[in-house]
Symmetry: C2
Subunit: 505 residues, 2 copies
């Protein structure tokens, strides 16, 4: 292995840690680009759903949340305002014990979820459900001690920014809402996607007395510790590209060496900067590679109908005029995907002031240690295995504390999932689309009669919980219908049990 490769591994290693694993459902919201409009940026031709069009039925509240649920130190009692939103338009009320559908906010502000999470709004009339959306602590308007920057800068304050605290927040708010709406007997179904999907599944496991069931969309609960292959994510990105276009896959695979080759020339970085119209002159090839890696990963992750962003990238690459060189074709893919711009910002995916970037970087450096690496064989990316020791060193230098890579499996489990949960737990749907690279850490087999996997071969990240569209393919319509039927089954059993088992007091 030469030195350049060594650097590359290191660079990609960093990259994998802090940029690609931001992975919200509503991708338009996670970077430093326009935040309104919940749809992907490659579908800008579709009509935007703006928050004004949904605001009338959504009422915003702030709950005085306890900072630290698990200790009783004097500072644990500090409270902060946590935002949640309620839509009661379709609710048939407490007297009929009508259900409550709850969306768990994840690593971003809640705003776009109101229109972006179609599973709730599309199904509210069917279930006659109360809709509730809760923002995750340290995101959006739910920040302890005022400013996010200040909170994240302070080691003592950001230390409370953990998943266990977050789901305890959700429990407290849901019990509060059930009381406020006098809806003791209304069953709660929690819904989340991606990281929020993990929270939903874990919530059903930890708080079965608060949620009757969970829909965990694209939740890679097995991408921790040694549970799933570290190369799973990029293996799927590669497969997606290969399936879409063998030529596109080959071009990308060859491009990394080509970048290094150009860079090694005198003035090489200037040449690359011009070739890719970078907004600022490149200081290292890493930033370009990082940018391209992010585009390919994102295109694969959100490769949904009807636009299929991955095909747009490959359409650009494959459609470049005959005789265009490798890097010219790669750039044509960038232009096809990002649009025709005066220049391209290499920091677009890692903007240091972006709240998702900032927050998720902390979360991955404390407990959400997802060992995602590039593999060797067949991958269209250069090899870059996940290096835990380097990861730990990097996090320590950033935040001063040691990541806890075993905590997720200690607190939430994961090993021998079927053995453990086959006769324990109930009412969880793990939904996935197998074109989503994160499905490599998802639950893809039924655990029991009511802890089930519902996946589609062609689906992408969180696709099932996004708004229904007329253009939706049949397999997607069917997946959503299956999920609704499963939840209806939980509810039917619950209402039977309610008559038989509820406390008479």
């Amino acid at each position: 292995m030469n030195k350049a490769m060594g650097f590359l591994r290191h660079s990609f290693h960093q990259l994998l840690l802090f940029s690609l694993i931001s992975f919200s459902c509503v991708s338009g919201t996670q970077f430093s680009i326009p935040r309104l409009g919940a749809l992907r940026r490659t579908t800008r031709t579709e009509p935007k759903i703006t928050s004004t069009s949904v605001s009338k039925d959504f009422k915003t509240f702030f709950y005085s949340q306890t900072l630290d649920h698990f200790n009783y130190r004097p500072e644990s009692y500090t409270t902060f305002p946590q935002r949640y939103v309620v839509n009661s338009k379709y609710w048939s009320g407490a007297n009929s014990s009508a259900p409550i559908l709850v969306f768990f906010g994840a690593e971003e502000a809640l705003d776009n979820d109101l229109s972006g999470i179609g599973f709730l709004t599309d199904n509210a009339p069917r279930f006659k459900a109360l809709l509730v959306y809760i923002e995750h602590r340290f995101y959006g308007k739910s920040i302890p001690f005022g400013s996010r920057e200040a909170a994240l800068r302070n080691a003592s304050i950001r230390g409370y920014f953990t998943s266990a605290q977050a789901i305890a927040d959700y429990a407290a708010i849901l019990l509060h809402i059930k009381k406020a709406f006098s809806s003791k007997n209304s069953p709660v179904i929690v819904i989340g996607g991606s990281y929020g999907g993990m929270l939903a599944a874990w919530f059903r496991l930890k708080y079965p007395h608060v949620a009757l069931g969970a829909l965990a969309s694209s939740a890679p609960i097995l991408y921790f510790d040694d549970l799933a292959p570290q190369v799973g994510y990029y293996a799927i990105v590669t497969k997606d590209f290969k399936e879409t276009s063998e030529g596109c896959y080959e071009t990308i695979r060859e491009s990394w060496d080509e970048i290094d080759k150009v860079a090694s020339k005198s003035n090489g970085l200037s040449i690359l900067s011009m070739k890719f119209k970078t907004c600022k002159k490149l200081k290292r090839t890493f930033d370009l590679k990082d940018y391209l890696d992010s585009i390919y990963s994102e295109a694969a992750q959100y490769d949904h109908p009807p636009t299929y962003p991955l095909s747009i990238v490959c359409g650009g690459i494959d459609g470049a005029p005959k005789g265009t060189d490798i890097l010219g074709r790669i750039f044509a893919g960038v232009v096809a995907y990002m649009g025709n711009k005066s220049c391209y910002d290499m920091n677009e995916y890692n903007h240091p002031t972006d709240e998702t970037y900032m927050g998720w970087r902390w979360q991955t450096c404390s407990e959400m240690v997802m060992p995602i690496g590039h593999g060797n064989n067949d991958s269209m990316f250069p090899p870059a295995p996940f290096n835990l020791n380097k990861f730990i060193r990097k996090c320590k230098s950033l935040f001063g504390v040691q990541p806890q890579p075993h905590w997720v499996t200690t607190y939430y489990g994961g090993h021998d999932l079927k053995l453990i949960l086959h006769r324990f737990a109930s009412n969880i749907i793990f939904s996935n689309g197998l074109r989503d690279p994160y499905s490599s850490g998802g639950v893809l087999e039924n655990i029991s009669g009511s802890v089930v996997a519902v996946y589609t071969i062609n689906g992408s990240h969180c696709l099932d919980i996004l708004p229904e569209k007329k253009s939706d393919p049949q397999w997607l319509v069917k997946q959503r219908k299956t999920e609704v039927q499963i939840i209806e089954g939980w509810l039917a059993k619950y209402y039977t049990d309610l008559l038989e088992f509820r406390d008479r007091t």
Copy 2:
């Protein structure tokens, strides 16, 4: 209601908070009296089991435990040595996936549990089990920052003394032990009594990936919030006395007014002090009433064969020479129960330096808020309902922080237990003896096929997990046998599942 009654309610109120609800399994260990010998003080004629007789097969270890599992503040990473004890004498080893029986330490040092908790030692050969005993944080030798006094005095340190942290400790140590003994496939059964029984049940609910099942002996998981009647505890004490001797019950019932009557005389407290041979002159009637209340409650709680302490108390009261006045008969009961002493220490049950008293007082003042009150009707005690506001004020003045009376039901659940757990969870035995006053907060009906209640009409607190004796009555033998058979059933299913479902990695 006259003023004296007002004071009495207040006094009893205090009393109920901080003395009676210490409720360990091995009662000899919880007060400031001789700690060696795990049996009750009223059975001093029986042979003592000393810790030396068990020490050879028990190996003591200390685990470097994380102070704060739920946050990532710099101070969260502090560690402290936590004691656990392992006995591998009967274990048939990792290769046979033989089970691990784990005793969860509770509100006392672990020392006496090694001989005192017969369920483990009696059943180790049958299960060919590894035995593990883990001490609860802040008790015994498992103290953060050295001295217990210093740790409990410091509001920032004692704030980490919570049940959620304690069961996370247990999870961390058990995963560590499973690794150290290369026993990934060995099923873990956790066992606890009283508060430790609550921890065992909650542990199975929160960490099903660590424990296959739980035996929760005399665990009043429903004595929180508004789940169980507040007067349940004293109603059972009263019933126990009434069933044993109507005359004894009547004498006790009349004695409280009699104490007040004597006290109201000039020199009344001196007369009472002499009548009850108190070690120090009484400053108020409360201390005497508190002492008597504790004796009656303890006698009822631990009213086990073959000695039946409650009968000993009533034997003293009923057997006093003809013509003895009410207080003389009460004192005869004290002598029968406590033994013939030169004087009687009214602080025996509330010794301020006793570790159980100190630790449990904090736990009840933070999260373990058990609303135990005296009822009106039929009770042999003067009325003294639980007063939450007074309780909160008292705790705030003691510790400066607000008790969280709803946290236990928020985190662990409890409302609508059968409705919630009938189709969720598995493998929990809730065992009770109905003569135990704490059974009023216990689970006394089957929740599902494998979350079951096993109780005896005549059993007392934690009786089923104490060592087997030749003198054990048939109903007790049968209760233990039932428990063993249920656990064998869990194990059989587990071994079948193991072949079918275990991760192939």
